[in-house]
Amino acid sequence: MTLFYLFAAVAVIASLLVIAQRNPIYSVLLLIASFGALSGLYVMLDAPFVAVTQIIVYAGAIMVLFLFVVMLLHAPAEETEHDERVHPLRRPGPMWFGAVLAAALVVELLWALTRAGGGTGAFPAAEVISVRAIGQALFTDYAFQFEVTSILILVAMVGAVILAKREAAKP
């Protein structure tokens, strides 16, 4: 239980800092810390495959892609019509509205969760779901979805190349 609170605290605090940082590079690095804590939670949930994939794919590939773009664009400061010295979360107007909406969302979700009946929600004893079982399900029951996902990745790759391509010089 202590370990759960430790990982949960790291995940929540790191995520809060992600949206509180001025510099996107710190945001990306803090999000990697948050993903590390989430990976620990996946291990506690007997899901080693997801925990490893979280580190390799999310922290290793997607976040590095973000970091690469942040460094490529080289635009650390957030540009607004407000005073640059004021922290982004302290600026007036829609910022407050967004914070209020998020707080309302938390209250709603917690209300829904506490109203849900049906036992304490304790996990039943079960064996760890092995990578073999996941792979077997992935290539039998979910084979069609798996192939569709590969086409999605191909489309995304082609789309990213075309979008990021410099426009050819007009003759």
């Binding site: 949206i19 967004g98 979008l163």
Partner: protein, 100 residues
Amino acid sequence: MPTLNDYLILSAILFAIGTAGVFVRRNLITILLSIEIMLNAVNLSFVAFGRSLGTADGQIIVFFVMTVAAAEAAVGLAIVIGLFRHRESLNPDTFTSLKW
């Protein structure tokens, strides 16, 4: 031992943090990062539900969510790069016209 409710509450809090990031920040990169936070909150509840039901389906859905997130990040960042080339800005408030 932490129960299913604990994981769901943590997932709800993380999702709300991501939502707040989308609403509050005016930086395209940070908004995309907030979307990643939301996707991970949903992943956590999928894995927790899968553990509660004792099936592998939750983890498989997480696998698909991760691939979709990778595709979304690639296309989204390509769009961000294209927008930045046009306007030299990452503030979404500067992109108000559909064509220029």
